[in-house]
């Protein structure tokens, strides 16, 4: 991100000198149509990062869990999120907390992108993907089975 005082939006949800990055550094096939922009990073390992993610229509984030929590605010569009065992319908400006070690996945379910802020600790653990057994346990709930994409 820029260390400037004022970083202007240059196009909808794109900012001056803020690169549009791959969602996951290593790539992968467990997500679809997701970009990442780091809006604020205080550079302190004990500090936080505020990122903006955007999921293209029909796309989804990775189904994952981890020790660190997410604080999410929807900024653009609508969508759905699995958090734990509930599927939430999300509208612009809604807030979502993802507690530690809770399975979660976001999906853009309309013909608009789903854009959201996600606040995390800078120093955080790597996401875990479900094992075959964990995935089968999640899918035992039919609503979750129809929702998740892996």
């Amino acid at each position: 991100m820029s260390k400037k005082i004022h970083t202007a939006q240059t196009a909808p949800f794109r900012w001056e000198n803020v690169p549009v990055l791959a969602y996951k550094e290593g790539g992968g096939t467990h997500f679809r149509g997701v970009t990442r922009q780091v809006l604020f990073d205080d550079g302190d390992p004990g500090g936080t990062q505020l990122r903006y993610f955007e999921i293209a229509p029909g796309g989804h984030s990775t189904l994952e869990r981890h020790d660190h929590a997410h604080s999410v605010m929807i900024l653009r569009g609508m969508g759905q999120a699995l958090v734990g065992h509930e599927i939430h319908s999300l509208e612009t400006n809604d807030l979502i907390r993802v507690p530690p070690q809770t399975w979660h996945q976001f999906r853009a379910t309309t013909d608009e992108p789903l854009g959201f802020l996600c606040l995390v600790r800078s120093e955080r653990d790597k996401p875990q993907h479900p094992t075959a057994g964990e995935l089968a346990a999640l899918r035992a709930d039919g609503r979750i089975g129809s929702f998740v994409r892996v």
Copy 2:
């Protein structure tokens, strides 16, 4: 703030069970028409809070500085901010960093409210107000003199 997973927006920039608070707990006369809502607070003194502030048309935040930094994102309306010795014109979705010990003040300069997110460390120092001498030094720059409200 709510500890729920999903906190819906119930009216524009108002959220379920998120109280609309006074801007400053002790009140004061050094600001005008400002409200505060705490959207996320991880409850950890080493953690962070994400707050939403809204300045009514014609209103302004306190002219102040402090050791802690602010990371700000405009969510609603337009306005202006003094940060250090520069006055920035702000539009929706613009980002603003307020570095430590930097005089700053936000103003709503149109007939719409100016709403913005402000990310801070939970444990932080109290704001300082300018002394008469500091205010005179700021006002020595005519543009700043016309801008600030105390």
